[in-house]
């Protein structure tokens, strides 16, 4: 499976399909952090929200980079479950690289992190919460990118529709006062928690992590089920 992960990562980078989401992510980070300074926690919270659609898009691009025939050959070589898992793992690894860039960007080149004021979370706490926000965004974005991938949606039109709908619903259903926030991954809820004047209790973050895990389990489970028939 590791060999297939490597093969897909190399194809994604060497084929040039990695460039559009990289450029888009850099533009998004520039918009977020280029306007001035703010404490670490809210800055990273917004960054995770804004990068979520880009992460989902890069996951879809990575999974779509391989021709359909090659995906079927890989399936024969490593088995159906490993083929599915290798795609998700490769997309997650690229997502983690994006997160590392997003964590570094407010320090360099943007110098966008201000010193914490009285009563605000320390810089270390802000960094840790920022990392958590991005780490929660990655699996949810990969799950959305997977169900939007060509192996499931078959056509470009359907794939774009699923990707855009999923990203928009994640934002809309995540707004305060949403009637069904649990239908979307808690990307917005995490950003709100990081932007709060007082740091929420640790239990709140465990809840957000569990919510993300459950949402991803349902969506990835659906993806794996669909992939059983759609090779």
């Amino acid at each position: 499976m590791i060999a297939l992960v490597r093969m897909r990562l190399v194809a994604f980078v060497r084929g040039g399909r990695a460039l559009p989401p990289i450029i888009t992510a850099l533009i998004v980070l520039g918009v977020i952090h280029g306007g001035g300074q703010s404490p670490a926690a809210p800055a990273y919270g917004y960054s995770a929200v804004m990068l979520f659609p880009v992460l989902a898009w890069q996951a879809k691009l990575l999974l779509d980079a391989e021709p359909d025939g090659q995906r079927r050959l890989a399936r024969l070589a490593v088995g159906a479950r490993r083929e599915v898992a290798a795609g998700l793992l490769a997309a997650s690894l690229v997502g983690l690289v994006f997160c590392a860039v997003a964590m570094l960007a407010p320090w360099w080149p943007f110098h966008a992190i201000s010193a914490p004021g009285p009563g605000e979370p320390s810089l270390a706490a802000g960094l840790a919460l920022g990392a958590l926000a991005h780490l929660l965004a990655v699996p949810a974005a990969v799950a959305l990118g997977a169900v939007a991938s060509r192996a499931v949606t078959r056509t470009v039109r359907n794939g774009v529709a699923v990707l855009v709908s999923g990203a928009v619903l994640t934002i809309v259903l995540g707004l305060s006062g949403s009637v069904a926030p649990w239908l979307a991954p808690p990307v917005m809820a995490t950003a709100r928690a990081l932007a709060a004047e007082e740091l929420p209790p640790a239990g709140r973050f465990w809840l957000l992590a569990s919510w993300t895990a459950l949402w991803c389990a349902v969506v990835v489970g659906g993806y794996a089920r669909l992939r059983r028939r759609r090779s």
Partner: protein, 259 residues
């Protein structure tokens, strides 16, 4: 390997491509799948390989290592031929370059090893597709129109490769609409038509054959030859009709000899 009441269609509302297919492939057997374009040959082969899953029924006892050569090799990948085969060998868990080098040499890919897949000719890409299927000795080799695009020299390699696989106890399924099956004399014939698979069950025996001479219009000769081959007949030759007999259709200008 056994097809057990297999039904398949590509979408819920689509017509059935295959219906109630029951057939068995014994170890060491070579099965040539015949049929017209769109009859379902490639679908049947992909079901055999495990690339497609039956909508109803099941395929039982598929060997653990399956080599599949798709009809169109997916050449739109940013690898050279050697890089691609090396990575496919890694997927199969094969250590070292020995198997890759063996098939590069045997299939005459040496001059193209550093050529990008997208820049390969159709026939050379088909050889790469053949090589990836043979990296691990397959218990089942599925060849979907393997002769397509290959030059005359490369075509002669396939019967030998098929013979090696079957001699080692593997089974080979191969589709053919070009009448190349003469190189596989002991093959069992399956004909796909109307969503069903008709198995002759026995290897072709020349002793059981008769020669039927058919006269067709010159313009229809190519279509007729293709149709006869698709239906599993051996076309022995095409020649001008010797002389129109009284009362015969004057437009009958070509003679078909088929068994």
């Amino acid at each position: 390997m056994r097809f057990d009441q297999v039904w398949f269609r590509y979408a819920r509302r689509a017509a059935w491509t295959l219906r109630t297919v029951s057939a068995t492939v014994e170890p060491g057997a070579t099965v040539v799948v015949l049929g017209r374009n769109g009859a379902g040959k490639s679908t049947l082969l992909q079901l055999a390989a495990g690339v497609l899953r039956p909508v109803r029924g099941a395929v039982h006892d598929r060997p653990p290592i399956v080599g599949w050569v798709p009809e169109r090799f997916p050449a739109d990948q940013p690898f050279t031929a050697q890089q691609y085969l090396t990575r496919m060998a890694a997927l199969r868990g094969l250590p070292g370059p020995a198997r890759v080098e063996h098939w590069i040499d045997r299939l005459g890919l040496g001059d193209h090893r550093h050529t990008r897949l997208a820049d390969l000719s159709k026939g050379t890409a088909q050889k790469v597709g053949l090589a990836q299927a043979l990296l691990s000795a397959p218990g089942l080799l599925v060849l979907d129109e393997p002769w397509e695009g290959l030059d005359a020299v490369a075509r002669t390699l396939i019967p030998g490769i098929v013979a090696e696989i079957t001699a080692a106890g593997g089974a080979v399924l191969v589709s053919d609409h070009r009448g190349e099956i003469a190189g596989l004399p002991d093959a069992i014939h399956w004909t796909v038509a109307g969503g069903a698979v008709h198995t002759t069950g026995e290897p072709q025996s020349e002793a059981d054959e008769v020669v039927v001479e058919v006269a067709v219009r010159r313009a229809d000769a190519d279509d007729t030859v293709a149709r006869l081959r698709a239906d599993g007949h051996r076309v022995l030759g095409v020649r001008p009709a010797p002389e129109a007999s009284p009362g015969a259709d004057a437009s009958s200008a070509a003679g078909e000899v088929a068994r």
